[in-house]
Amino acid sequence: MLEMTIHENSCRGCQLCLDVCPTDCFVFDEQTQKARVAVVENCIACLSCAYICPSMAIRHKDYHQVKNFYRNIEFSSRMEKFL
């Protein structure tokens, strides 16, 4: 089951995730002035929100990862080593 979470402290309330999500998974919470995941079932794991989020606060778990053939393999292999 796909999970999508927004790290609450990191959200700056810019609503860019609401703008880019093709399946309207997010809502904006007026009270906290932060985005919130409303219907995770709609998520198609396009990861648009994860990429647009200025804080990189949106994480997806248990989704089918489509590997980009153009991704920089050399560097991707080093990412595990970042402290």
Partner: protein
């Protein structure tokens, strides 16, 4: 000294020395670290000229001179785990901007036409020769761990060192500087890019929303966001985020332009062109790494040449 302590070597290459000061910034926590660590070589603490055998080797600074290259190789030979410590070691750092100029230009500017000195002599063979390129240390030696930051905040240093000593997974996050910034990001009707030298930014609203260029959203948080929280836009000192580094089509300028054009009324192309014109400033910290330099859309030498020809 107890034999069971973890032996630590540190060495600085081409850098300002700030990373070593950042280690001292551990303050009282330094005592906690010293309970399990024995420092064998540290340029600011010990008079050790040689490279003793050690478990952990912290290397700060990039490789610019012949001495840097030899020191990096000696550290690799004597240390079991090498940490590329600080932005210079990981990405080449600020002096990566030197790649936009020839060695002759740099030597002339520093020693012959420096506005603050009157000498006109180039140094002789008593100093190590300037290398052809500025390179991050992982192009010279194998690196086991990376800790970017200019310098990395002591929070991340302690977390990194203690996880290494205790053999646990480090609890560090991959979020950007924006994640630690308190400014509110909102959509505005700003139509022009603002110049930070001639106008003030409001302290409560995000710089991008106000039309100021800020690199917070494309910079890995290894600093706990002190600059934007104190009125200065992020200059990207901890280096790019993972998505900028791993995806060849994503770049500092495209990422900033995309977010800023959605937050303000400034067109995407206007912001992108503005960033290209000031490329030497905005790419300064990570220019020397191949991860940025080899991007298909990356034309920094061309942008800088165009800028300086005017």
């Amino acid at each position: 000294m107890s034999g069971s302590k973890v032996r630590l070597n540190t060495e600085w290459l081409c850098d300002c020395g700030g990373c070593h000061v950042a280690i001292v910034d551990l303050h009282e926590k330094m005592l906690q670290v010293l309970q399990s660590v024995e420092i064998l070589k540290c340029p600011v603490l010990t008079d050790e000229k040689d490279y003793p055998e050690a478990d952990i080797g912290i290397v700060t600074g990039s490789v610019r001179t012949e001495h840097d290259r030899e020191a990096a190789i000696a550290m690799r030979q004597k240390c079991k785990t090498i940490i590329a410590f600080g932005t210079c070691a990981v990405y080449g750092g600020f002096h990566g901007a030197g790649l936009a100029h020839s060695r002759e230009e740099i030597m002339d500017h520093v020693y012959r036409h420096s506005p603050t000195t009157k000498t006109d002599t180039l140094p002789n063979n008593s100093i190590s020769a300037l290398g052809k390129m500025v390179t991050p240390i992982d192009e010279v030696i194998e690196v086991d761990l990376y800790l970017p930051g200019c310098p990395p905040h002591s929070h991340f240093i302690l977390e990194g060192l203690s996880s290494l000593i205790n053999r646990t997974a480090p609890r560090v996050h991959k979020e950007t500087v924006c994640a630690g910034c308190h400014r509110v990001m909102k959509k505005t009707a700003v139509t022009e890019i603002q110049d930070p030298t001639s106008s003030y930014a409001d302290g409560e609203t995000c710089f991008l929303s106000q039309g100021f260029i800020c690199q917070g959203s494309v910079t890995l948080d290894r600093c706990l966001a002190p600059c934007p929280n104190h009125g200065i836009a992020c200059s990207g000192c901890a280096g790019p985020t993972m998505q900028v580094l791993s995806e060849p089509t994503r770049d500092l300028r495209t990422e900033i332009s995309e977010r800023m054009s959605r937050l303000t009324k400034i067109p995407y192309e206007t912001i992108k062109t503005h960033l290209e014109k000031s490329a030497k400033t905005h790419y300064a910290y990570a220019m020397a790494t191949k991860m940025i330099g080899n991007k298909p859309t990356f034309l920094i030498r061309k942008w800088i040449a165009e800028r300086e020809a005017r």
